[in-house]
C-alpha cells in the first residue's frame, strides 16, 4: 500500500514523515485542538466534527446583527451559476502504479477522499465524475458567481462549506465556520444546500482558490475539497491553453499509505499527475496554487516567464492558498518535466509532464 523507495526506507517512516513535513498536522475544531499523528486521530477529529452542533448566532457587536443584500451583476454583467455537491469518492492517487520520471513502480494508493462535483441545475444530474480539484468557476468583471452548494457527504455527518478567495462577498457568503458568529453559509449540514453569491470586481481579476472552510476545514481540505476561481477582465480572451495546478499533499493519516504523497491535482508521480500539452506559438497560462501547509517552488524545464514585477523567473515560490501564474508564448517543443523544486516534494510525487508539439 505504501510508497517504498530507498529514500524512505533508509530514513525510516517516522523520519521520512518528519523530513517531508507530513509527520503530523493540527486541526482546531470548535473549542478543541487535535494533533493528528495517526489514522485513529483522524477518526477522533471526524467524530468531534460530527458531534459539533450548529452554533446559535451570537450578537456581541453590532456588526453581528448586520444584514446584507444579495449582490446582483453590475450593468452588462451576468449571473454565472454553478451547482456543486461535496461528496466522498474513492480516489486513486497513483492510478497507473508507475512513476514515469524515475521509471519505477510505485504502489497504487486509493483512499476515501472528498471532492466537489459539478451538477446540472437543481442537482438533476452530475456533469462529470467528482474530481480533485473541483470544477473551475469562471467569471468576468461585473459578473456574480452563484454557487448552489449541497453537502452530499451524509455519512461523514459533518458540516461543509465553500469559501472563496479573490472575489468580493459580504459576511453572509463567506462560507466560513466562525464559532458562535457563524452565519448560514458557514455550516451546511449533510443534506442541506446553501447558495453563495460572490462578486467579480475589478480587483478580483486573477486566479484564486476556493475550499472548504467548515468546522473541520483543515482535514476536509486535505481530503480534496478545493478548486479554482478564474476571473478575467470583461471581454478578455482566454489563453490558448490554460491549466490550474494545485500543489498539495495527502498525509498518510488520511490515505493509509506509508508516506506522505506530494500531489498535483490529487495525483502523485509523472504519468499520474496531469500531462499538460501545448503547441509552439500558443499562448499558455499555467496557474499554480498551493493547497497544503508547505511552501513550494514551481519549475518548468526549458521555460521562463515574467513574474508580477516583470522579472524573468523559472522557479517562483508559491505558499499556502497563494497563486502564481506561468504565462508565456510557447517556443520550445519537446517533452518537459514540470515539478515542485522542493526536493523532498518532487521525489514524493509532485512532478508531471509538459508536452510541446512543434507547430
Amino acid at each position: 500500500m505504501g510508497v517504498r523507495d530507498r529514500f524512505s526506507a533508509r530514513l525510516g517512516r517516522r523520519d521520512f514523515l518528519a523530513a517531508t513535513g507530513g509527520a503530523f498536522f493540527v486541526c482546531a475544531l470548535g473549542e478543541r485542538q487535535f494533533t493528528v499523528r495517526t489514522a485513529r486521530d483522524v477518526q477522533r477529529v471526524d467524530a468531534a466534527a460530527a458531534s459539533l452542533r450548529r452554533p446559535a448566532s451570537a450578537r456581541r457587536d453590532r456588526v453581528d446583527s448586520l444584514s446584507f443584500a444579495t449582490p446582483a451583476p453590475a450593468p452588462g454583467g451576468r449571473r454565472r451559476e454553478y451547482w456543486l455537491v461535496a461528496r466522498p469518492v474513492r480516489w486513486q492517487v497513483t492510478p497507473r502504479g508507475y512513476d514515469e520520471w524515475h521509471a519505477r513502480r510505485v504502489p497504487r494508493v486509493t483512499f476515501r477522499a472528498l471532492a466537489y462535483q459539478a451538477w446540472s441545475a437543481g442537482f438533476a444530474h452530475p456533469l462529470g465524475p467528482p474530481r480533485i480539484p473541483g470544477p473551475t468557476l469562471e467569471a468576468e468583471v461585473g459578473d456574480v458567481i452563484v454557487v448552489h452548494f449541497r453537502n452530499g457527504a451524509e455519512r461523514l455527518r459533518q458540516a461543509l462549506t465553500v469559501h472563496p478567495h479573490g472575489v468580493r462577498y459580504n459576511p453572509e457568503y463567506d462560507g466560513a465556520y466562525l464559532g458562535e458568529f457563524t452565519r448560514a453559509g458557514g455550516f451546511v449540514a449533510p443534506g442541506e444546500e446553501f447558495t453563495y453569491v460572490w462578486e467579480a470586481t475589478p480587483d478580483s481579476v486573477g486566479v484564486w482558490p476556493y475550499h472548504d472552510h467548515g468546522p473541520n476545514h483543515t482535514l476536509n481540505t486535505f481530503r480534496g475539497l478545493f478548486g479554482a476561481i478564474v476571473v478575467r477582465e470583461r471581454g478578455a480572451a482566454r489563453p490558448d491553453r490554460e491549466y490550474a495546478l494545485f500543489l498539495h499533499n495527502f498525509p498518510p493519516q488520511i490515505t493509509g499509505a506509508d508516506t506522505v504523497l506530494h500531489c498535483i491535482n490529487g495525483r502523485a508521480f509523472a504519468g499520474n499527475t496531469p500531462t499538460l500539452r501545448a503547441r509552439v506559438g500558443e499562448r499558455v497560462a499555467i496557474h499554480v496554487i498551493g493547497m497544503d501547509s508547505n511552501f513550494h517552488t514551481f519549475h518548468i524545464h526549458g521555460h521562463r516567464w515574467r513574474d508580477s514585477a516583470g522579472a524573468f523567473v523559472d522557479c517562483p515560490t508559491v505558499g499556502p492558498n497563494e497563486t502564481i501564474t506561468a504565462a508565456f508564448t510557447e517556443d520550445n517543443p519537446g517533452r518537459w518535466l514540470y515539478h515542485c523544486h522542493v526536493f523532498s516534494h518532487q521525489d514524493a510525487g509532485m512532478a508531471g509532464w509538459y508536452l510541446v508539439d512543434p507547430r
Binding site: 451576468r78 446540472s120 442537482f123 444530474h125 443534506g191
Partner: protein, 447 residues
C-alpha cells in the same frame, strides 16, 4: 396589469361556480405516549401473515422506535399504518424492494382511520418506507406530513382517493423508483413546503412513473424540489406546480424539472375513469385543461430543462400567472400569482417531429425575468401567440403580456364543461403518436 385583472374577472365569471378545494387541515404532531427503551443498535421486527411475532404492521409499529427496522414479508395486509411522532425518527419499514407488489396493503373494506391512508407519517423525521404496494385507500396511498426528511422508495400507489404518494408541509425528502396510477387527484404530490431562509433542504423526485391520474405530479406551493429522470404520461396534465390560496406559503418556487419524459397527457377522465371523478378543480376552475405536458400555474425561480415533451395535444409546456390570486386585494397573494425568473431551456418538443404536441409553448407573457432558451420546437404551432413573447435568456426585467394568449386560454377554460367531456378536447390539435415500447396512449379509460 389592467387587462390581466379584467381577464381574471372574466375567467371567474365564466368558470364553474364550484368552490375551490378546501384548505388541507392535518392533525398536529401527536403525543407519542410512553416511549419504550430502545437498544442503541435498534432491532429488526419481522411482520408476516404466519409464523412471525407480528401479524400486522401496526402491531410492529406499536413496539418500534426510530432505531428499528421493520421488515414486512409478502402478503396482503388490510390495515392502515400510522407512524406518529418523534419516537419514530429514523424508522425504516421495508417490504420487498425488488418486487413491491408482493407486499400489498389494501384499504378495501378497512373501516375508520385505517382506511384513509396505507401509510401515514406525521411529525416523524427521516422515516424510510420502501418496497410496498398500496391501493384502494380513501385518502392517500403513502402520506408524509410535518417531516424533516423522508424516503419513499420502490412503492406502487394505485387507486387511492386523493393522492398516490404525497408529502405535505415537509422538507428534504426523496420519492424514487416508484409508480402511481388511477388516483383521482395526482399520482405524486409535494405541497406546502415551508420557506427556508439561508440553508435549504431540497427534495428529490427521481425515476418515478405516473400515469392515468388526473394530474401526474402536482406541486401546490412546493419549494426546492427537483423532479428528474421520471415519466409522466397518459394523465390529464403531466406536471403542475401551482400557487393556491388553499394551502400556506404560495407560490411554488425554486423548483427544477429536468430530464423527464412528459408525453401523451391527454387522458380525458370525464369520459370514464378508474376512479371517482373530481367534482371541482383549483382556483374556481372546473378543472385544469386536459392535454398539457407541463403547466406552471404561478411560479417563481423554476427551471424547466432538458425534458422530452411530446404528444400532448393541447400544449407541451404552458406558463400562466395564477389569475385567481392576481385579482386578490392582499398584495402577498398578488405577488404569489406572479411569474418571476422562470427559465425554460434546452427541452426537446415533439420527439424529433415524430410525436407532435398540439402547441409546443404557451405563455401569457406576464411577470418578470421569465425566459426561453435552446428549446427544440417541432409543432406546426410552436408558440401560442407571438414569438416575441417568449423572451430569450437572461429574462427581461419586465416580460411583455400577450393578450392573444390570454384570450385563447380564457376561451379554453370557458368552454370546458365536465358534463360534456368532449368540451375538454375541442381545442386539441391531434397528431399521430409514435409507438413506444410497453406503453400505449390512453385518452379514454376502458376496463
Amino acid at each position: 396589469m389592467i387587462k390581466t385583472l379584467s381577464l381574471a374577472v372574466a375567467l371567474s365569471a365564466v368558470a364553474f361556480a364550484a368552490p375551490p378545494a378546501l384548505a388541507a387541515e392535518y392533525p398536529p404532531p401527536a403525543n407519542p405516549g410512553k416511549v419504550p427503551a430502545a437498544s442503541k443498535k435498534g432491532r429488526k421486527l419481522v411482520v408476516c401473515k404466519r409464523g412471525c411475532r407480528y401479524k400486522t404492521i401496526r402491531a410492529a409499529i406499536k413496539r418500534a422506535t426510530g432505531r428499528d427496522l421493520i421488515v414486512v414479508r409478502p402478503g396482503t395486509y388490510r390495515e392502515g399504518v400510522q407512524i406518529l411522532g418523534r419516537r419514530y425518527d429514523g424508522l425504516r419499514i421495508v417490504g420487498d424492494p425488488k418486487n413491491p407488489r408482493r407486499v400489498r396493503l389494501d384499504g378495501k373494506g378497512v373501516r375508520g382511520a385505517g382506511g384513509q391512508n396505507a401509510f401515514f407519517v406525521n411529525a416523524a423525521d427521516g422515516v424510510t418506507i420502501r418496497g410496498f404496494y398500496a391501493r384502494n385507500y380513501k385518502a392517500n396511498c403513502f402520506f408524509v406530513v410535518n417531516a424533516d426528511g423522508y424516503t419513499l422508495d420502490r412503492l406502487v400507489a394505485e387507486r387511492c382517493g386523493v393522492y398516490g404518494i404525497y408529502a405535505f408541509n415537509s422538507k428534504g425528502g426523496t420519492m424514487s423508483n416508484s409508480e402511481a396510477y388511477y388516483n383521482n387527484d395526482s399520482g405524486f404530490y409535494i405541497g406546502q413546503t415551508p420557506p427556508q431562509k439561508g440553508r435549504k433542504k431540497r427534495s428529490f423526485v427521481t425515476n418515478v412513473k405516473s400515469y392515468l391520474n388526473v394530474l401526474g405530479f402536482s406541486g401546490t406551493n412546493m419549494r426546492y424540489v427537483t423532479i428528474r429522470r421520471s415519466q409522466f404520461f397518459n394523465n390529464g396534465v403531466g406536471i403542475v406546480p401551482n400557487a393556491l390560496r388553499t394551502e400556506k406559503y404560495p407560490p411554488p418556487e425554486e423548483n427544477v424539472i429536468a430530464d423527464n419524459d412528459v408525453f401523451w397527457n391527454n387522458f380525458n377522465y370525464y369520459r370514464g375513469a378508474p376512479f371517482k371523478i373530481p367534482t371541482s378543480g383549483p382556483a374556481g376552475l372546473s378543472a385544469y385543461p386536459i392535454g398539457i405536458g407541463i403547466l406552471l400555474f404561478g411560479s417563481q425561480g423554476t427551471i424547466v430543462e432538458n425534458n422530452r415533451i411530446f404528444g400532448n395535444w393541447l400544449v407541451g409546456f404552458g406558463m400562466v400567472q395564477q389569475f385567481e390570486l392576481a385579482g386578490d386585494s392582499d398584495p402577498k397573494l398578488r405577488e404569489a400569482a406572479t411569474l418571476r425568473n422562470n427559465v425554460v431551456r434546452n427541452n426537446r418538443f415533439g420527439l424529433d417531429g415524430k410525436d407532435l404536441n398540439g402547441r409546443d409553448l404557451a405563455y401569457d407573457g406576464s411577470g418578470t425575468g421569465n425566459c426561453f432558451l435552446g428549446n427544440v420546437l417541432t409543432s406546426p404551432v410552436p408558440y401560442l401567440g407571438s414569438q416575441a413573447t417568449y423572451a430569450p435568456c437572461p429574462g427581461p426585467s419586465e416580460n411583455a403580456i400577450d393578450p392573444t394568449v390570454l384570450g385563447e386560454a380564457a376561451q379554453w377554460i370557458a368552454a370546458q364543461n365536465p358534463k360534456k367531456p368532449e368540451t375538454f378536447e375541442q381545442f386539441w390539435l391531434r397528431h399521430p403518436h409514435a409507438p413506444r415500447k410497453g406503453v400505449k396512449p390512453v385518452e379514454r379509460y376502458r376496463r
